[in-house]
């Protein structure tokens, strides 16, 4: 154990610097909010605000520096996108190919609902009379309307 400690002390260690001095609360909140939107390049799906890696710390420093310099959120996001690509944004912007990611889930849900509605509507006229007949034989026989029959036959197809 002590050998390990000595080995660790003698070996080159990975130094972890503390982040730069936080700004005033309002601007620091912006720094943290922006940090949450930016992806840490060394991690797996972590934002730079959540990561403890040194690269993420360096990037948080940069965000802080840019906020302190009076840049807007959009400008700061652009700074990172122009270096690391859209990859740097944890939430892809809703445009171009990315639009699919935003639209497809809703569209699929809508399609599913439509399919259910269709099945229910199709079963409705066919199944309901049979059920009604089984439940109460006292009911009047369903009227025979050639047009309605034609529609039902069409629906059953």
């Amino acid at each position: 154990m002590s050998g390990l400690v000595v080995a660790l002390l003698l070996a080159g260690y990975a130094p972890q610097q503390a982040g730069s001095t936080p700004l005033d609360p309002a601007r620091e909140a912006r720094v943290q909010a922006l940090g949450k939107q930016l992806r840490c390049p060394m991690c797996q799906g972590l934002s730079i605000a959540d990561s403890g890696s040194s690269a993420a710390r360096a990037q948080m420093d940069k965000v802080r520096e840019l906020v302190a310099a009076g840049q807007t959120d959009e400008q700061i996001r652009t700074y990172f996108v122009s270096r690391y690509g859209e990859w740097a944004l944890l939430e892809p912007p809703a445009q171009g190919m990315n639009l699919l990611v935003w639209i497809l889930p809703g569209l699929l849900l809508l399609l599913g609902l439509l399919a259910i509605a269709r099945v229910v509507a199709r079963r409705g006229p066919g199944a309901a009379p049979a059920e009604a007949a089984g439940a109460s034989g006292a009911q009047a026989p369903p009227e025979v309307d050639p047009y309605l029959e034609a529609v039902r036959a069409e629906l059953r197809r």
């Binding site: 390049p41 690269a55 360096a58 996108v81 690391y84 690509g85 699919l100 399609l111």
Partner: protein, 182 residues
């Protein structure tokens, strides 16, 4: 009516397949390199050996090879002799500089041959310059041509053959780099 539903399902499946094919067609951990073909961001860094400041503007007129490394990075140790060799071998074609990434000066001094005069090392306080260059890890090697344009970067430990090839490409005016460039 059944045909309509089938077609719709086929269309949805098609879109899904397209999205998945695009997603699986690339490495999600690969950080894109966006600065290719752009002017390299300016910097002023301090030399590890002499303490003299080095600015990118001073280096203009001759291609620059920038290598980001750290003493805590094992692949960097493997790569370092290749760059030290390259710095001597191609001294007439390019200027080689190492940039210490997220490390202490003391550790950097203890690294392989950091005080080699043909391959000077620079200290990047708080990695400001590394973030400007879009560094996503170490080691990474950047190639800047004589006009100060970033022509490409190499991620991971570079080998002698690739280094020589990249340097040859740097001599040609604005020719696109080979397909391996990222």
């Amino acid at each position: 009516m059944k045909w309509g539903l089938g077609l719709l399902l086929a269309a949805v499946a098609g879109v899904l397949l397209f999205v998945l094919a695009r997603g699986f067609g690339r490495d999600p951990h690969e950080v894109p390199f966006m600065l290719k073909g752009k002017l390299a961001p300016a910097f002023t860094l301090r030399r590890l050996d002499t303490g003299a400041p080095v600015t990118l503007a001073d280096l203009k007129g001759k291609p620059v090879v920038l290598n980001f490394w750290a003493s805590w990075c094992a692949p960097c140790k493997l790569e370092h002799p290749v760059l030290a060799w390259g710095a001597r071998r191609f001294a007439g074609d390019a200027q080689f500089y190492g940039v210490v990434f997220e490390d202490t000066e003391e550790n950097a001094r203890g690294f392989a041959t950091p005080l080699d005069p043909s391959f000077p090392q620079l200290i990047d306080e708080r990695s400001r310059m590394a973030v400007d260059y879009g560094v996503s890890g170490v080691p990474e090697t950047y190639f800047i041509d004589a006009a100060g344009v970033l022509r490409g970067k190499f991620v991971g430990p570079i080998d002698a053959r690739t280094l020589a090839q990249r340097l040859a490409e740097l001599q040609q005016p604005q020719a696109p780099l080979s397909a391996v460039s990222r």
